[in-house]
Amino acid sequence: MKYIEKYGKVIAMSAAALGMTAALTIESSLAYFTTYVSAGGSQVVNLGAQTTIHEDVSNMTKHIQVANISQINDCFVRVKVFYGGDLSIGYPDSPDTPSNPDWYLDGTTDENGFRYVYYRPILPASPDPDRPSLTTPLDVKIDVPDGFDRDNFNVVVIQECTPVVYDESGNATADWTTVYSGYEEFENPSGGRGEEADD
């Protein structure tokens, strides 16, 4: 008590001085001129693709066409023709080059010797589902050895598609490195693949 009586005034004055100094400091911080602006934007990335294959056979030649039935996304397509051991395939004008210049072979073969045939133009999406865009025909000639049953043989065509991407020069191109495998869909409690976005 004696201590407070003796130094009370000094303590009070010191506290007041400290308070005033602190107040002055705060005021000077608030006094800086500042301003800010903000802006934001977004776009949706649509990636789905749907294609169908159409095949006809006449005169031991397969006429192959691929349709893009997606209403949103353009794509590139390619096909591969599989056949049995005694058969071989070629093209009407050449054993190695498709007659239709829209289709080309890239020169690589898989371990069984089969090759992809690529469709050069972009196959655009069509807003009208009844009129999907269609590739021009790829004619594949089937060579059957003598004595082979011409009514009973298997030539299977598979087709793949990939979205249109662009290279460094801005040219439309296809990226065939996509991993075509089932992926695991997982969801968090809020229903998305991650945390909830800020509003």
């Binding site: 301003t35 602006v37 934007g41 776009q43 749907q50 793949e160 693949r193």
Partner: protein, 257 residues
């Protein structure tokens, strides 16, 4: 002896009081003379004075157009955006795609971003760029996707000699500090000139075959990419402290002063 000492202390105290009183009187007199002098000279000349109030302001420009600005004017904040009257934030990427154009992966789209000093005082500026992905959940609400890298949203940053990158950036937020003072009415060099969505977004897909129809479903089909930009400006007077106070960084060590 004690009585004498106490009397002597009292005497000293009184002396100090008298000296302080005399000083106070002198200072008071001195200030009166000063103001009298000022009064005498004030009326001896005619002045035309132009008073300019310090008004800070900043605008964000996209492809040469102002998308958002906030200027102090006539004791009030004047906010204008390309979103209309009541909006406080501008809209980016509105004209990124032409009518009926579809977003293409890996394609570089024109996106020039810069800052203009729309105030009447010089200022320092910085921008903060946020990139992230969202998708709609089952109830239609946007949720952030944390499994898709913000780096797949490739905003092409340019003029790196004028825009200093914060070394402590995160993948989602990039901070750029404009080197030097941005004078009133001036515009910075571009800090970005294009945007591109990396084709890696389409790197995972599942294929389903039904009859002769093949359906390719991409893991990230329908996701939405976002780019948000914030621009901050601060006065140039007492810049080091002002920047430290407003932005929390050491301007000198960043080399922007």
């Amino acid at each position: 002896m004690d009585k004498r000492r106490r009397a002597s202390r009292r005497g000293n105290g009184r002396n100090v009081t008298y000296v302080l009183l005399a000083l106070a009187v002198l200072m008071l007199l001195g200030s009166t003379i000063g103001s009298t002098r000022a009064a005498l000279t004030y009326y001896s000349e005619n002045y035309t004075a132009e008073i300019t109030v310090s008004q800070i302001g900043v605008s964000l420009l996209e492809n040469g157009d102002v998308v958002s600005s906030r200027d102090y004017d006539n004791d009030d904040w004047k906010i204008s955006t390309n979103q209309g009257k009541d909006a406080v934030s501008g809209a980016l990427l509105k004209n990124m795609l032409k009518k009926d154009e579809k977003l293409a992966l890996n394609k570089s789209y024109h996106e020039e971003l810069s800052v203009r000093n729309s105030g009447t005082i010089d200022e320092y500026v910085r921008v903060r760029i946020y990139r992230y992905w969202t998708e709609k959940n089952s109830s239609g609400k946007d949720v952030k996707i944390t499994t898709l890298s913000p780096e797949l949203i490739d905003l092409n940053l340019v003029n790196e000699n004028k825009w200093v990158k914060n070394p402590n950036d995160s993948a989602e937020c990039t901070e750029l500090y404009y080197k030097g003072i941005l004078p009133s009415g001036s515009e910075t060099e571009l800090f970005a000139d294009g945007i591109r969505i990396d084709g890696q977004v389409a790197s995972e897909a599942a294929v389903e075959t039904k009859g002769n129809t093949i359906t390719t479903t991409y893991k990230y089909d329908g996701v939405e990419f976002h780019v948000d930009v914030e621009v901050d400006a601060v006065q140039t007077h007492n810049a080091q402290d002002a920047i430290k106070s407003a932005w929390g960084v050491d301007a000198a060590s960043l080399g922007i002063l």
